[in-house]
Symmetry: C3
Subunit: 304 residues, 3 copies
Amino acid sequence: MKITATGIATKSSSGEILDVFFPIINFDGKTTDIHSLGEVSSSKEIIEISWDESDLNSPVKDVCSAYLKLHLLSYKFVLPNSINLDGMFGALPNVAWTNHGPISIDEIDKKLLESKQKNINLYVRSLDKFPCLTDYIIPRNVRIADASRVRLGAYIAEGTTVMHEGFINFNAGTLGKAMIEGRISAGVVIGDNSDLGGGCSTMGTLSGGNDIKISVGENCLLGANSGLGIPLGNNCIIEAGLYITGGTKIELFDETNSSKGIYKGAELSGLSDLVFIRNSLNGAVIARPNKSSVELNTELHSND
Amino acid sequence: MKITATGIATKSSSGEILDVFFPIINFDGKTTDIHSLGEVSSSKEIIEISWDESDLNSPVKDVCSAYLKLHLLSYKFVLPNSINLDGMFGALPNVAWTNHGPISIDEIDKKLLESKQKNINLYVRSLDKFPCLTDYIIPRNVRIADASRVRLGAYIAEGTTVMHEGFINFNAGTLGKAMIEGRISAGVVIGDNSDLGGGCSTMGTLSGGNDIKISVGENCLLGANSGLGIPLGNNCIIEAGLYITGGTKIELFDETNSSKGIYKGAELSGLSDLVFIRNSLNGAVIARPNKSSVELNTELHSND
Amino acid sequence: MKITATGIATKSSSGEILDVFFPIINFDGKTTDIHSLGEVSSSKEIIEISWDESDLNSPVKDVCSAYLKLHLLSYKFVLPNSINLDGMFGALPNVAWTNHGPISIDEIDKKLLESKQKNINLYVRSLDKFPCLTDYIIPRNVRIADASRVRLGAYIAEGTTVMHEGFINFNAGTLGKAMIEGRISAGVVIGDNSDLGGGCSTMGTLSGGNDIKISVGENCLLGANSGLGIPLGNNCIIEAGLYITGGTKIELFDETNSSKGIYKGAELSGLSDLVFIRNSLNGAVIARPNKSSVELNTELHSND
């Protein structure tokens, strides 16, 4: 496997690379739509990278390789959790992403003062190691209502809509058309035709000390303000407002409404065709077979 | 009834209309504050529309009529749910809303590359069919802390504050002064003096396959991270963190604390003076009479 | 105590002061990094302020003193809840914060029309009394993923990361390195090494009619979509999805798992080393000793 990429880097006045835009990538024969950089401003630096498979499997070693790996994910050349991203946080500098482009943290105070003196408006959109996806790549047939909530490194399948309350971290995303009004944490993937309701939460592996990768299968619905700390199979529903973690004790019922016993959430990982609810008369969390199917509203999900 | 409107359309380089700004509307004798367009850049197109009542009741037929209907809602000439919005999603193109204005999805890759070559900062604020309200209309006596979270087509009464976590979809909004720190889904209206707590959810009719229009009456409080799937009357409270849907089984108590039986949420639709809580000792969701009243903090809600 | 400050005010065309940027402050001998304004555009106005301690303890009297107090908080010269902020809402005008800088609400309609006529893109980022922190002050060693969600007047300790779903109001913030993916309401402070999970809520004193100041001690974890209406001590955990208020009835258990009785949340205010969960078999909210400790992911929290 051979990967070549050509990019344009922004540098601070002290020569630090702040970001790299890679419009030209050849990934083992598959290519991006752009094939020539054209004339580039002398304040920018051209970056050329040539990799083989071992580079994908090695930790991130500098800002250029960090940006290339994030581009590979967002161009959908590689799936989330399929390449080595160790060292990403260390390799990426914290940057002031402004309405005038990326500015080094070391220079932002001076630039801000100048902008007020001269009455030129400068403002910071984000102070972060990761930029927004759409500053670099515009995925086809996708809607992202608030672009500030999807990081470069997100993997977004065609037909996906990310509403204002939706969020997608790097190394995470959707494998098919999905309606995302909740938060997809780093490492989490959502299957085709699934719906993450407004404000719902998926637990990431970065912050929780959790070693299990969370995922959502196909045709699932996570209700508004619900939460998920286990992998789900297909055709599952979590009721609005209910948070299921690996430690939640859940009574499982079969199709005849007979109890099959009490399980921890982690023991139900990856099962399909379950509805998770909290009985509103006695507070018990239960799971029962899903007899209905989730159908997305066709008009609402049109992204043409 | 007669409606006339004059607007300014932005076109892509292939001639596709991306958006229309209608500063001049005469709605059956009531008018907007602006009465003349003045000189308009040759890259823009002037749009003139003349409608009667049947046009309000007909489906949306093209991008210009879509934008006019959204303007009618946001200028508060018509209430949410009072005009025909069928076909809205089909009529609106998906657009890249950038810091340099709307750009066609077909042209955004080229523009993005150019901006990096020339070191001119271009970024996408949103990839969506609907633009932000405040790109077109600034409602009087209203605060909107994060303008990216209120779509054109929102109906916002004077005295309303929309905090950073608030969200208002098109064909939805507030009928009086309200504090909005939660999400108002499409089709949902909130009454005077009501308060939607941080992160609370109202179920829309678009995504849930739900045919019942959700609404909140006057003097209601939806607690932080709560949720609502039924219409509420006046003077109701939903406790922080509690999600009430049409299917939630709720024990109803009277003023003497006697049980009046168990009802589905849908059976309590539209009732006034109720407090919904989950008993924290036994997990049961109950409703009881609301003896207090919700008073908004006067200083906090000042928008002058 | 002596405080002197020099700032640059933006004025509307009618002479109203819209905001003041104070890069130069001497707070009782401690100073900001900038010591000279340099040449300032004639459209701006220079503001000089000289205060003693009584001014900190007096209500906010005009827009300049409002901005100075907000700067004192965000430069971390004073702690949240330590100076008199009465009158802040009345002193601050509602302003259209645009990509071309602050514009008076009285002039925004005209400017918006002009921008459409001339094909110059103007858009409103926020209609609010409070601006974004990072339009004025860039805190060191801090990440703020979405700058629109942190108001000027926020107090943010070094090492803090505010993720996209995080929010920090004025007169609120973090006292040490913290991971903020939830909402810090006005008046709320978060201790060192604590973690606010995605979408979690802290109750403010402004909106709830609540007189008790909420705070979170050190080494605490508020789970995703949880909520807090009481002050917490150190080493506490609130389970994901659980909302604890002053009125929540909670059964307290000791280390031998013996019940110590039922308490209202308010009665547990400020206690340390507690885990709050809702028993998923019977819906009862309980508190028990915290035997584990919360450790933040070191790489994730690197802000260098």
